[in-house]
């Protein structure tokens, strides 16, 4: 199963995962890391370590802000088994849980981008 890793500012990852679990019940193979107190290099190291653990089937790294320090750290981790998607929202995460066992790691980021954007609607 493709693993999910949420990288965000402060408690972002913990909170969005908590919110997701309140909707769908407990979720396996998904973790979060925070940038709290960490230099970009240190956060990159933490992301790399998380990618190496149980990452045999690949990791999708969800980042809160494109262009931010969390994004830069995710890029600097240079984990070969990981792909990165930014601008995570709950519908994107929900889509990941449903699709991660049927879509390949290389195709997942584009699908997540599409599903995340599709959930943004103005009325």
């Amino acid at each position: 199963m493709i693993k999910g890793l949420i990288v965000g500012h402060r408690d972002f990852g913990k909170a969005i995962l908590n919110a997701m679990e309140s909707i769908s019940g407990s979720i396996e193979n998904i973790e979060w890391v925070s940038n709290d107190g960490l230099s970009t290099n240190e956060l990159a190291e933490k992301i790399r370590a998380a990618c190496e653990l149980n990452g045999e089937e690949g990791i999708l790294v969800f980042v809160d802000v494109y262009g931010g320090s969390c994004w830069r750290a995710a890029k600097m981790a240079r984990a070969s088994n990981a792909r990165i998607i930014t601008g995570i929202n709950l519908p994107m995460l929900l889509s990941f849980i449903h699709k991660r066992e049927t879509i390949s790691l290389d195709e997942l980021p584009a699908v997540m981008e599409n599903d995340g954007k599709r959930a943004i609607q103005s009325e």
């Binding site: 230099s39 970009t40 240190e42 262009g67 320090s69 830069r72």
Partner: protein
């Protein structure tokens, strides 16, 4: 325009700098001083990709920084200067960069460093250079965001 913010922050360009300080200081230009970033085209690109569209950026090596900083005085833009560490800032100021005030806003945790406040972690080298900066007359301001109080960190080093 003068330099509106000189700051030590190992995250370099990030939200606190562009948004937190940016909404008050509205910089047009950010100069990043880092041998590590300047030494790799890929890291330069990554670092500058974090900039909002309205702010331009440039990465320079520590050795070249003083000259570039002093030329900023003649520039029309409001500029930031970002250093990765107190040691880099000290070297640049000692080689002639005109910087009287330095904000210390992000020295994050890494191996062998001790916590002073939750966004400032130091080892002996950092402590040495912070004291050295103070001793050559640089006014140090310890805060991550402008709305926070300046914390007296020097007594805790």
């Amino acid at each position: 325009m003068p330099v509106v913010l000189a700051r030590i922050d190992d995250r370099l360009i990030h939200g606190q700098v562009t948004e937190g300080w940016g909404k008050m200081l509205t910089p047009d230009f950010i100069l990043v001083v880092s041998d590590e970033v300047a030494g790799s085209d890929w890291e330069c690109e990554l670092c500058l990709a974090s900039l909002p569209y309205c702010i331009k950026g440039r990465v320079v090596r520590v050795d070249n920084a003083a000259q570039v900083i002093n030329e900023l005085d003649e520039d029309e833009r409001a500029s930031y200067i970002l250093f990765e560490s107190p040691g880099d800032a000290y070297r640049v100021i000692r080689s002639g960069a005109k910087i009287q005030q330095l904000n210390v806003g992000g020295m994050h945790s890494s191996q062998g460093k001790r916590e002073v406040v939750d966004y400032i972690f130091v080892d002996d080298t950092d402590a040495y250079y912070l004291k050295a900066l103070r001793d050559i007359g640089v006014e140090l301001d310890f805060r991550d965001l402008p709305e926070h109080e300046n914390i007296d960190v020097m007594t805790k080093l």
